[in-house]
């Protein structure tokens, strides 16, 4: 088992290096660079050209890559051109925001998915199940950005129950109780909007797992032995159906730090998703590279975690 994990981690290394090279090559292929956005008659093109030269944007990619990797090995991921600050500081700020938003979303997702999935699976093809299934269909067909916008209009502005944007109320001192409370309040509406849409996958998955499990031999045996219906569900079916969901958890971790462009844009919430999209669109490559690598490492670790959980759940997928 440990050997397996170590080996998987070792394989990760070349993947990450390959990815970083790919990012640099693509950066070269993408039209424009960090300074293209400054086309403005008030700014002297010569000054832009000078900065371009200074930042090495005119060098071929392998030279830029060499510069980057040698400082990256010393823990320096470079400067963001757009924000004019070290990439590590910038990513840290955003990562914390995205982490909390992701966590709240995840909790909401499971709070919604588990009871709905269980009800739907246990009483399949009843009215209750139909309603829940109906909800999942609507969830599938509703685009997140429209839903989030309507939620904000209704919950934030018309009813005034929630704050309407940002990650914290302006003017609060970090570290105080009010600050933490305000942060939490700002997470509720975006987290809920996202969870209501993304949870439908988990509901569907749980439903079909339960339907599958309840026809398996061991359940039939348990029933035949006279176990009460609630005992059968709580003890046997639920445990077996939740395990695959747990295996999914590894992937959810990636989402946790990835953030989502849609939610973050609409709620003006400065997180990773927004940072990544802006950086790509504005060609702030030092940020792009750092974020892509961070995502890459996270999702490789997530996949590894999923595989480990799966192997614990299902001995047929043996880890050698």
């Amino acid at each position: 088992m440990w050997k397996f994990i170590v080996r998987r981690l070792l394989i990760t290394l070349p993947q990450i290096v390959l990815l970083s090279i790919l990012v640099f090559v693509m950066a070269q292929m993408m039209p424009g660079d960090a300074l293209t956005g400054l086309i403005d008659p008030n700014i002297d093109p010569a000054a832009i050209e000078e900065q371009r030269e200074k930042m090495g944007l005119n060098d071929p990619w392998y030279i830029q890559y060499g510069d980057w990797i040698s400082s990256a090995l010393q823990g320096d991921l470079g400067q963001s051109f757009r924000f004019k600050m070290p990439v590590t500081d910038l990513v840290e700020q955003r990562l914390i925001n995205s982490f909390w938003l992701g966590l709240v979303t995840l909790i909401f997702t499971y709070i919604i998915a588990i009871p709905l999935g269980i009800t739907s699976g246990r009483y399949n093809d009843t009215m209750r199940d139909q309603l829940i299934t109906g909800y999942t269909y609507i969830g599938f067909a509703t685009p997140l950005f429209i839903f989030a916008l309507v939620m904000l209009w209704v919950g934030g502005f018309q009813l005034g129950w929630f704050p309407t944007g940002g990650s914290v109320a302006p003017g609060l001192e970090p570290g105080t109780f009010e600050y933490a409370l305000s942060k939490f309040q700002h997470l509720l509406l975006p987290g809920l909007s996202m969870a209501l849409i993304t949870t439908v996958n988990t509901v569907q998955y749980l439903r079909s797992e339960i339907i599958d499990t309840k026809q398996k031999d061991f359940i039939v045996t348990a029933r035949a032995k006279g176990a009460s219906e609630s005992r059968v569900y709580n003890r046997h079916i639920l445990r077996n159906s939740l395990l695959p969901i747990a295996a999914y958890f590894g992937f959810e971790i990636t989402g946790l730090i990835g953030g989502t462009v849609f939610i973050e844009t609409i709620y003006s919430y400065p997180g990773m998703g927004l940072l990544f999209m802006d950086s790509v669109l504005q060609r702030d490559y030092s940020v792009v590279t750092a974020v892509v690598l961070l995502f890459g490492i996270a999702s490789i670790l997530g996949a590894l975690l999923s595989d480990i959980i799966l192997s614990l759940v299902d001995p047929r997928i043996r880890i050698k």
Partner: protein, 610 residues
């Protein structure tokens, strides 16, 4: 049993769906009745036009109603779908959103008037020498930084030293600096100080310029100081990322920065020691608002006003009861440009090429005649953008030649011109061939972004098709921002596939067209140059042009030349609208306005829409 429940479920789903639909349409009717009263009815009938607005009906100044209270807390919205960068210093910022944030707490030392000329009303006054090359500035005695230190001539000189420094990593080093004597030597590291800048005494600064031009008086001087006592010990390359810029910046403006939440919001408190007098407001909060929710934020009083309002949302919200819409002509225009040459990277100047596809002026003239920009302005923008005539927009009333009508929409004339110039349809496919009888396909590059970008580009293509010109969208689609400017030639590598392009320019304080249409301007994307043009541009910034009347004549000539030669033709002028809550007093969006300290409110909380 199961079957029936399934169909029941389907029925239930359909019901839910219908309800949702009803809710949607119900909501929208309500909204329309609210926001578009009268307009919605006429919208439905076919021929009656839609609601039209004119920028002349808007004022840049807020009308005051009621009695102002003491103190108060203004809520300001920054409309953007990204986070602001947080480089909060005039010498280092590059994004416009950062500028909006800085304006509240720091200001230029020189004020300007409605014609963008420097005045003696700012935090510093100035005197010019006989030959116009030497400026002597005197900073007023009561101008102090937020930490109590006086703003000195040293501080002003310091910003020149920082921006000119070889390690400087911003983009502000331009004409305003290179024109200072000794700046280039300092910039190249050959000198330790700038010979043209002299600190006479604590409050007096003397700057000597290499050349005297009228541009110096309209935005040609870098008017921002930088607190030397704070930045002195920070290396220039590290300044932009320092907490002194990002976390607790100071200035000498009417408000002080209290807290900053990176990328989201800033809280300011009043600067009691402000040189123009104590501000009336106690507190200002600036926060980022997404453009899709700006209307709701205004209606519910979450913000009093915003930096800019998406003009396309105006017609549906014109009747919002708790705000007054201020408006003025934007310093920008949209244009269509023709590729007339290439960029010579060696000589760093444009190289006109008479063999280009668009080289025939008659073809360009016909294309201008073929498009109906009044209709575009009215139908797409409800009159809030309108037909443009010359390349100096009316936002600069002194230099915009309102007598010059440009070229009017006249498709018949366009056809006539084309016929005469030999562009005829020889193979009978309905499309004109060039005078040599070869197929003429014109590739049109246009930028994506904004809802109307695509229908607008397609409308132009259709209009040209109507006069028999075969214009195709480059690659069949709009170009993303970076792609567009790369292909049009922001690096000098013009894509030969581009024949014509649609872009927009915002115009600086100074109307001098050299930066956009000069022979050595890389932003001269049409790569047009002529001796007449060179002469007029030079004349516009000559010493004779210190006389405004003379300068006006020169620029009228230049505007006329552009209408004759048509390297580009302007399509639309734009308006800028800003809603302001009714409780706010003494507010203005005029460019020359600098009365942030005068703003007052009549009640504690913003008014809400009924």
């Amino acid at each position: 049993m199961r079957k029936t429940s399934w169909s029941k479920a389907l029925l239930a789903l359909l019901l839910v769906l219908l309800l949702a639909l009803a809710a949607c349409s119900g909501g929208s009717e309500e909204g329309e009745a609210e926001g578009d009263s009268g307009g919605s009815d006429s919208n439905k009938s076919e021929d009656s036009g839609k609601k039209l607005y004119s920028i002349d009906d808007f004022s840049a100044e807020k009308t005051n109603e009621g009695e102002a209270i003491d103190g108060g807390h203004l809520k300001f919205g920054l409309v953007t779908d990204t986070a602001f960068e947080g480089t909060l210093n005039w010498n280092f910022y590059s994004g416009t959103y950062d500028a909006e944030v800085i304006e509240w707490f720091d200001e230029p030392l020189l004020a300007d008037d409605e014609n963008f000329m420097y005045t003696q009303d700012g935090a510093a006054t100035f005197e010019t020498s006989e030959d116009g090359r030497v400026f002597t500035f005197t900073i007023r005695d009561n101008v102090n930084w937020h930490d109590g230190e006086p703003v000195t001539a040293e501080d002003w000189a310091f910003s020149y030293e920082v921006i000119g420094h070889p390690d400087y990593n911003g983009v502000r080093y331009g004409e305003d600096f290179t024109n200072v004597e000794g700046m280039e030597a300092y910039h190249n590291g050959e000198a330790d100080s700038i010979s043209g800048i002299e600190v006479v005494d604590e409050k007096t600064l003397k700057i000597t310029y290499k050349e005297a031009t009228p541009s110096l008086l309209t935005g040609g001087i870098w008017p921002y100081a930088m607190p030397k006592h704070i930045f002195e010990d920070i290396p220039v390359a590290k300044m932009a990322e320092s907490p002194e810029v990002r976390e607790h910046p100071i200035g000498f403006g009417p408000f002080k920065v209290e807290t900053i939440t990176p990328g989201e919001s800033v809280v300011y408190t009043k600067n009691e020691d402000y040189w123009q007098g104590e501000p009336k407001l106690d507190k200002v909060t600036l926060s980022v608002i997404n453009p899709t929710t700006v209307v709701q934020a205004l209606e519910t009083g979450k913000v009093d006003t915003v930096d800019s309002f998406p003009v396309d949302q105006y017609p549906d919200n014109a009747e919002m009861s708790n705000v007054e819409f201020l408006g003025q002509i934007d310093m920008a225009y949209t244009y269509i440009g023709f590729k007339l040459g290439t960029w010579d990277k060696e000589k760093k100047q444009v190289k006109p090429d008479p063999n280009m596809k668009m080289a025939d002026v008659n073809l360009r003239k016909a294309m201008w005649h073929a498009v109906d920009n009044n209709a575009v302005g009215e139908q797409f923008y409800n009159g809030l953008r309108w037909n443009a005539t010359t390349l100096i927009p009316p936002s600069h009333p002194e230099f915009h030649d309102s007598e010059n009508p440009g070229l009017a929409y006249d498709p018949e004339k366009a056809k006539e011109i084309l016929d005469e110039a030999g562009y005829e349809d020889v193979n009978g496919d309905g499309m004109r061939e060039n005078p040599e009888g070869e197929e003429l396909v014109i590739n049109f590059a246009s930028m994506s972004g904004g809802d109307t970008a695509e229908p607008l580009a397609n409308y132009y293509i259709q209009s040209w098709k109507k006069v028999g010109l075969n214009v195709q969208l480059l690659d069949g689609r709009l170009q993303e921002f970076n792609t567009f400017y790369d292909r049009v030639g922001q690096n000098g590598d013009d894509d030969p596939k581009v024949d014509i392009f649609q872009g927009a320019w915002s115009v600086g304080n100074d109307v001098n067209p050299a930066g956009l249409y000069g022979r050595d301007a890389i932003f001269n994307f049409s790569r047009y140059a002529s001796e007449e043009n060179d002469k007029l541009i030079e004349e516009g910034i000559s010493e004779a042009s210190f006389d405004v009347e003379h300068r006006k004549e020169v620029y009228n000539e230049w505007q006329k030349l552009m209408v004759e030669e048509i390297p580009v033709f302007p399509t639309l002028y734009r308006s800028e609208l800003v809603p302001v809550n009714n409780r706010v007093q003494n507010y203005s969006i005029a460019f020359e306005w600098s009365g942030l300290h005068e703003i007052a409110v009549t009640q504690e909380e913003p008014m809400k829409a009924e």
